[in-house]
């Protein structure tokens, strides 16, 4: 090794020690140097002296635990053992009482490192009182906002409940009167009217019925959206059989139904909600047919991960992919009104019901070869 003039190894060491010393003296963290064998304090920096309020000579020679602010820290021996094992010890939030009785919190990190030919322990002690205070303020602010938002959410729910109660009672009253009187005319005065007059009367009645159905669908939708359903174990096969049993349009010869549901497939669901969703899907499956075609419906179940998916596949008119995204919206009707009856809420209700049980609903179709609708729910645990 060549000694460059004015740049000997000694000089370099001195230089390095000097800059370390400057850092040590000027640091805005408390720094303590401990003897690696005894854990006794060799040196403390000015910041720590200021932080704790002890003079330097009252600290040198003691262990950390012997300084009253650190009396609750683990035993000297335990800390030394942990340092030996891991190379460092860290306390994220150490409460500390200074000599003049101030309560602060510090972050305390000890590292073992090599200094020349011997090992020393350096402890960095950072005052985190301000940080804790800021954190506490942020938390309080967050908590305040949560309380505020919860209250306004509760208000919104109350308003929605009042709204649907009003719809239920008040909006239906005039409608019912219109329906009622047009029925009276049809039942009691039909003979006195021309065919044209009778047909207009029927149209009034039909429209009133349609509005009534829409109102009741909206109410169902809002009810479904706000209730949290109680989930129980439901056998899909049994449920499918029940729905078919109670739905006259699903029986031969009006429709051919093929059930390929595994009897072991049980899901966690709200039974009447799931029944409603499935009735909607089956009702649609037989409704959206080309004229004169007998509906052929296939219902099958399959395992998908932890879920069971129930498919309802039909030979109906199908829905072209570009319209499919509108299907599950409120009052969305992809087809012209005069061809197929309905309010356009059925699938919105279906999806909402299933989502409230933690499941999903969707469909596949190429727009030509029928539709495949599905609902998917978490499988009930298999009983041993």
């Amino acid at each position: 090794m060549t000694d460059l003039p004015g740049c000997s190894i000694d000089d370099a060491l001195r230089e390095s020690e000097l800059s370390y010393r400057r850092l040590f003296e000027a640091a805005q963290d408390g720094i303590v140097i401990l003897d690696v064998g005894t854990g006794r304090i060799i040196d403390v920096n000015p910041f720590l002296i200021k932080l704790l309020g002890f003079p330097r000579d009252e600290m040198v020679g003691k262990t950390i635990g012997e300084l009253s602010p650190f009396k609750d820290i683990e035993s000297n021996q335990a800390m030394l053992e942990r340092l030996q094992e891991h190379g460092y010890v860290r306390y994220e939030n150490l409460p500390l009482e200074t000599i003049d009785g101030r309560h602060t919190a510090v972050e305390f990190v000890s590292n073992v490192y090599q200094a020349g030919d011997k090992k020393v322990i350096q402890c960095n002690i950072r005052d985190i009182t301000e940080r804790k205070k800021a954190e506490r303020e942020v938390n309080q602010e967050l908590e305040r906002r949560v309380i505020e938002r919860t209250a306004s959410l509760r208000d919104a729910i109350n308003q929605m409940e009042q709204f649907s109660y009003t719809v239920s009672h008040d909006l239906r009253a005039p409608l019912r009167a219109m329906q009622g009187y047009s029925n009276v005319l049809i039942e009691d005065f039909a003979a006195e009217m021309s065919d044209e007059a009778r047909s207009y009367l029927h149209r009034i009645g039909d429209n009133a019925t349609r509005l009534e159905k829409m109102i009741s669908d909206i109410l169902t939708f809002t009810r479904v959206s706000r209730d949290s359903p109680l989930l129980t174990r439901v056998s899909l096969l049994k449920l499918v059989q029940d729905v078919i049993e109670h739905y006259p349009g699903l029986k031969s010869p009006q429709a051919e139904i093929e059930v390929e549901v595994d009897a072991r497939h049980e899901v966690l669901a709200h039974e009447s909600g799931l029944m409603q969703a499935l009735s909607n899907l089956l009702g649609n499956a037989v409704k959206f047919m080309h004229p004169g075609v007998i509906p052929r419906i296939r219902i099958r179940s399959e395992v998908r991960g932890v879920d069971i998916r129930l498919w309802v596949e039909d030979n109906g008119i199908g829905i072209a992919p570009e319209y499919q995204h509108r299907l599950f919206g409120m009052f969305e009707r992809v087809l012209p009104d005069d061809r197929y009856e309905g309010t356009g809420v059925g699938l919105a209700i279906t999806r909402k019901v299933i989502e409230r049980m933690g499941g999903q609903a969707g469909m596949e179709s190429d727009g030509q070869n029928g539709s495949k609708f599905w609902i998917q729910l978490v499988r009930a645990e298999i009983e041993r």
């Binding site: 239920s168 009672h169 009253a173 019912r176 009167a177 009810r223």
Partner: protein, 146 residues
């Protein structure tokens, strides 16, 4: 005409004149042989059943065997009236049927808890006969031996 039980007077508590008309019509079409009297709010319903004020005369205003009760009524809500009826021992034999436009489950459940059948408007003759039958009142066609 159909009698049911010993009921000769039926009280309808309903504030909407259209609903009163449609109920009277359904009642007539069901050929129920009983007189249908009408009061139009919750307070009137209670004074009628108590027989106070102008309802003191039981010749003119006989105690009904059956009450059709709307829910959203002026002054006192239908459920307040129903709860009051349930607490009056002289009215133990008075049957109550809720007749409402509400399809809310909370209303249905409350009615069930207070032991009253629940009809959604508008009533049809068939609905009236079935609801009355569900009260356990025997339906007897007129002319049959009672």
């Amino acid at each position: 005409m159909i009698h049911f039980g010993d009921v000769e007077t039926v009280l309808l508590v309903e504030d909407n004149p259209d609903d009163v008309f449609l109920m009277q019509r359904a009642f007539k079409k069901a050929r129920i042989k009983a007189q249908l009297l009408v009061v139009t709010d919750g307070e009137q319903a209670i004074s009628y059943l108590e027989g106070t004020g102008k309802y003191g005369d039981r010749q003119l205003y006989p105690l009904p065997g059956l009450v059709f009760l709307d829910l959203k009524l002026p002054f006192l809500h239908g459920f307040v009236v129903l709860a009051w009826i349930r607490k009056q021992s002289p009215l133990n034999d008075v049957h109550v049927i809720i007749l409402t436009s509400s399809m809310e489950d909370q209303d249905r459940e409350k009615a069930a808890a207070l032991g009253a059948p629940y009809l959604i408007k508008p009533p049809t003759p068939q609905m009236l006969i079935e609801a009355i039958g569900s009260l356990g009142l025997s339906l007897v066609p007129e002319g049959a031996v009672r």
